[in-house]
């Protein structure tokens, strides 16, 4: 726990001088509101500084929409590589032979902040049409300790900004504040414990001087949580477990005699969203454990596979909406909730949209947690006949049954020990983020079109060991997996378009007024027409795209940036479903495009 003195007290004058020097006198060109300190006012009003990208998901509503339009339907054909930068972080550790890049760059006043899989933070000066490394903060992540309990790769999805600090996580469980100008660590705090199977891969969400942290580890018998750290005192303000403790509301949804709740999973490894109007954080919760042996944990297993609404100030649960009760499929609901307001019959409808691993997209009333609409966004769903139009629960769900079987003939269970299921356990839609175009009211989902084969292992309490898999079976990949970008019209809750791709979408989406950007793990970055989803531009990076695109401006010019380096779960566990991707080499590279 180092604490470096002095760095947090650099004067504002010194900072301004440093910025002025770094930008070569460009300071005068900066808009007055874009000061170099990030505060709540700026985080609430990111639409006032469209050239910057201050939130992991672009805004608190997780829209990943930029109003920049220099790169548009007419000009995108001229989009070219402006500059690239090799990054590091592909070293092996634990059970992983290499790291990958899943991060979203943050952009502020012409500087980019990106991470590699082991949590190093890079500050890059993007002025003058080229990228120059300003500093790199290497947190010296304990690779063997963390990498041995990272189910799904050596990943870090990015940073957040607050004050004069860059806030980041490490796989080995730390929250780190780095001085934005110097790159020196100002302070760090242990939030998660790899000895319990906990690791951190998500970017922090900053709300009102708090860093909100989610945790991974539902494949290792953790009891999940969401935690808030005060960025001034560095103290924990609250920690809300996603599995209720004994006697708490929801604890009666764990009906076993194994104390399954204590290792019940419910991880929270994707950054959530925030509704300032109600001071509510909305965060997705992952699968119950053991993943495929749901008879071990009879009951609905709250709050696994749910969207959870928390009071941001206290962390108290306001409402939840569960998608797959007593999940026997590993159908996490960790995905980001996209907050959207649309006109309704009696005033504006305030929705939270979530695209689930189980293959269904949901719209929930985010003031009450009630189901509005849901529909399958994948082509093949075999585990249920569909959603109940009133409750949104799978039609076969029976609240009186302790163990759900859904369509029993395909559902993994103790009497169906080997079975093929669609979507497979990667989804559906995994962590790669969706994007929402508020003008067109179109919501774009990065789709994994999959089936896989599940083998069930009947679990007993003696099999639960610290830092060992607690999955109750595992998948294999006898089927080819493809993907799509699927657009949903949020006003109707219907699919408005689908652009199928030869490979699953492992990177996520960026929306601009008339374009949609995305990538493929085979290397392509592409721009689609926002309405027709017709491909208008494509560039092959020569690596595997496993991260979302974003856009920003420097010196008045628009750029598109994307990290390239295939890692994550795919090329270790799921590569047999996409054999062509075996030739994709590990890599670690930032691509920046401009007209």
């Amino acid at each position: 726990m180092e604490r470096l003195s002095g760095h947090a007290t650099i004067t504002r004058r010194a900072r301004l001088l440093a910025i002025a020097a770094a930008t070569g006198g460009m300071l005068a060109a900066l808009p007055a509101f874009a000061a170099d300190e990030v505060n709540q006012e700026r985080l609430l009003n990111v639409d006032k500084e469209p050239g910057n990208w201050l939130h992991h998901h672009q805004n608190y509503s997780a829209h990943r929409f930029s109003s920049l339009k220099e790169i548009n339907r007419d000009t995108v054909k001229n989009l070219k590589v402006a500059w690239t930068m090799h990054l590091g972080g592909i070293e092996p550790g634990g059970i992983w032979s290499h790291g990958g890049l899943e991060g979203t760059p943050i952009a502020e006043n012409g500087f980019l902040y990106v991470t590699d899989g082991w949590g190093s933070v890079y500050k890059i000066d993007a002025h003058g049409g080229r990228g120059q490394l300003v500093w790199k903060m290497d947190p010296k992540t304990d690779r063997d300790w963390a990498g041995a309990v990272a189910c799904c790769g050596v990943d870090n999805r990015g940073v957040a900004l607050w004050g004069n600090l860059v806030i980041s996580h490490t796989l080995d469980g730390r929250l780190i504040a780095t001085n934005k100008e110097t790159g020196q660590v100002a302070w760090q705090r242990t939030v998660a414990d790899p000895d319990k199977g906990e690791v951190i891969t998500g970017a922090p969400l900053i709300v009102k001087n708090m860093a909100i942290t989610g945790v991974a580890g539902a494949e290792y018998g953790i009891r999940g949580w969401i935690a808030a750290t005060d960025l001034t005192t560095q103290k924990e303000l609250w920690r809300t477990h996603t599995i209720p403790g004994k006697g708490e509301a929801g604890s009666d949804t764990w009906k076993d005699s194994n104390n399954a709740a204590a290792s019940g999973g419910g991880s929270t490894w994707v950054t959530g969203s925030y509704d300032p109007a109600t001071d509510t954080i909305i965060w997705g919760v992952g699968n119950p454990g053991p993943d495929w042996d749901n008879e071990y944990r009879p009951g609905d297993n709250l709050y696994t596979d749910s969207s959870l609404a928390l009071d941001a100030t206290t962390g108290k649960i306001k409402w939840h909406y569960q998608h797959t009760p007593n999940d026997p499929y590993d159908y996490d609901s960790v995905a980001e909730n996209v907050l959207v307001d649309i006109p309704g019959p009696s005033g504006p409808r305030k929705l939270a949209l979530e695209a689930d691993r189980n293959g269904f997209a949901y719209a929930i009333d985010r003031t009450t947690g009630k189901f509005i609409w849901g529909l399958p966004f994948v082509k093949k769903v075999t585990w249920t006949k569909g959603l109940d139009p009133e409750s949104g629960k799978p039609i076969e769900y029976d609240a009186n049954k302790p163990v759900q079987t859904y369509i029993a003939s395909v559902t993994p269970s103790r009497t169906n020990l080997e079975t093929d299921i669609c979507p497979g356990n990667m989804g559906g839609k995994n962590w790669p983020p969706t994007a929402y175009n508020p003008d067109l009211k179109l919501w774009y989902i990065p789709v994994i079109e999959s089936c896989n084969r599940i083998k069930v292992e009947v679990m007993t309490p003696d099999k639960l060991k610290p830092r060992e898999f607690w999955t109750g079976g595992g998948p294999s990949q006898p089927f080819k997996i493809t993907g799509s970008v699927t657009a949903i019209d949020v006003t109707t809750g219907k699919i408005a378009g689908k652009m199928e791709t030869p490979f699953p979408n492992l990177g996520g989406i960026l929306a601009t007024p008339d374009l949609v950007f995305s990538g493929q793990p085979s290397g392509e970055v592409m721009a689609l027409d926002a309405k027709s989803l017709q491909k208008l531009w494509e560039f092959n990076t020569g690596g595997g795209v496993n991260a979302p695109p974003m856009t920003f401006t420097v010196d008045g010019k628009q750029y598109l940036a994307i990290l390239v380096g295939l890692g994550g779960a795919w090329d270790k566990w799921f590569i047999d479903s996409t054999p062509e991707l075996k030739k994709i080499q590990p890599g670690s590279m930032l691509y920046v495009f401009a007209l």
Binding site: P92, T190, A192, E457, E468, G472
Partner: protein, 202 residues
């Protein structure tokens, strides 16, 4: 290269029937799993040291990413990648381990590590065409015969027959400053402040 066959599998091998060869491998695996075997004392006590002749094999165990599925301790276990067999509980002989590493295990995720396996080097009496869809995956890192023998010797000396993983074994494997071994410490080995590291501000 094949291990000692039973009389029935010997007959099968003579006619080079590929699918039966697979049956033989599966049979061998099943037998290996079912047979009970007393723990071998040296498996638990012998630790790799600087002068340990199996250090080269330990390096191969890391370099070839055996630990990616079997874990550093060799116990393997279920998970996202399927169920890697426990090398601690294995019944395979040195020759059978060498064969399995060289040729992989058809129909499973255990890859082959020898260059030319199922091509110039026949595996279980099969070439690539005969193995067909049962062909195991190719390893990310191919190994020379000497390396395969070394890793087999390391498994025999330090993993096969050992009981539950211990702190001493873990430290011997990693010989680093990583906290990866901390959970194997007994209470007596834990420093007084070992429980203060989580959930606390510095």
């Amino acid at each position: 290269m094949p291990g000692p066959p039973t009389s029935s599998t010997r007959d099968v091998m003579m006619i080079f029937n590929a699918s039966s060869a697979i049956a033989r491998i599966l049979l061998m695996s099943v037998v290996a799993l079912i047979l009970s075997m007393p723990a071998v004392a040296f498996g638990q006590s012998a630790q790799a040291t600087a002068s340990d002749p199996t250090n080269a094999g330990k390096a191969v165990f890391s370099k070839a990413n055996c630990m990616g599925c079997h874990k550093w301790h060799g116990n393997g276990g279920g998970g996202y990648g399927g169920d890697a067999l426990s090398l601690r509980k294995t019944q395979l002989t040195r020759e059978q381990i060498i064969e399995t590493v060289s040729c992989g295990r058809p129909t499973t995720g255990m890859p082959f590590f020898v260059r030319g396996a199922y091509d110039e080097v026949k595996c279980y009496g099969m070439n690539r065409a005969e193995a067909g869809s049962h062909m195991p995956p190719e390893a990310g890192t191919l190994l020379r015969q000497k390396d395969i023998e070394a890793v087999a010797d390391y498994v025999l000396a330090h993993i096969k027959g050992a009981g539950e993983p211990t702190y001493a074994e873990c430290v011997a494997f990693f010989s680093s400053t990583s906290r990866v071994c901390d959970i194997y410490k007994t209470q007596a080995q834990k420093p007084d402040d070992a429980t203060t590291s989580t959930g606390k501000s510095q």
